[in-house]
Subunit: 155 residues, 2 copies
């Protein structure tokens, strides 16, 4: 169902690469209307990210970071919208000028505060996605890195 | 080729969803050794992101943002490393405690400064990926959003 002014791709785009779901995100948000527009890494509710058991060794050391970037697959989102009108103001905007879940590659990113790790489970704050959302990646947040080295030979 | 202490998954993980390449990233970094460890959104070189023509309407309004989040597919990366030893110190770390390109879903994220948009081309600073890297998403950076509304009924 489209809102006034929304436009879609005439032809579906092809697929070029494949994603593996590496775990599941558990939040208190059971329906779309309950999801905050953006997570709150300080005051938001505790959420749980559970990685699949075979990836436990890959989580080693993540607990050293307060701030973690989480990537997830917005599995319920349509992918063909070019322009969207998600807000009450009725304005139509290009999909890439929004953080809407509806996009050609429905990947969400959040920066969360890592409260603690218990094996393959992470307790975090700052997520805004639906309960049951598939996890696709975890990384230390960029902001946790200090001054970076410049590339050699390119100055 | 593995370095000392590095470990890999015994069995490949399956695939669960598909990604569409929506454009191409052009940087001055032609080989892996030239890529900076992290992009510099202020002093880094100008790079170009070109979206595929059918997505031009979806870029409308992105030029209102100074800071844009870019997601890309690290197409040369192996995906089976559980632990890695990427640094000169010889320490072995879990894949998810690193921002290394080698990960189960080889998706990179960068926050870039948007200098200007020319149709389907964006001129940006702050990328650290190889020339020719496939683009998978563009979003206004989270930090560009101001105080968010709390979810209704969840306080």
């Amino acid at each position: 169902m489209l809102r006034a002014g929304e436009t879609v791709l005439d032809n579906a785009l092809g697929f070029d690469a494949e994603v593996t779901f590496i775990g599941t995100i558990h939040t208190p948000f059971k329906e779309r209307g309950q999801c905050p527009r953006q997570g709150d890494a300080e005051a938001g509710p505790d959420c749980t990210i559970t990685a699949i058991p075979e990836l436990e060794p890959a989580l080693a050391g993540l607990e050293r970071f307060d701030s973690v970037e989480v990537l997830y697959w917005l599995h319920l989102a349509r992918r063909d919208l070019l322009t969207q009108s998600p807000k009450a103001d009725g304005a139509v905007r290009g999909t890439f000028s929004l953080r809407s879940p509806l996009r050609p590659n429905p990947i969400g990113t959040s920066r969360v505060r890592l409260i603690r790790r218990e094996g393959t489970r992470l307790i975090v704050r700052g997520l805004d996605c639906l309960d049951g959302t598939p996890l696709i990646d975890l990384k230390p947040d960029r902001c946790s890195f200090t001054v970076q080295a410049r590339a050699k030979g390119l100055d």
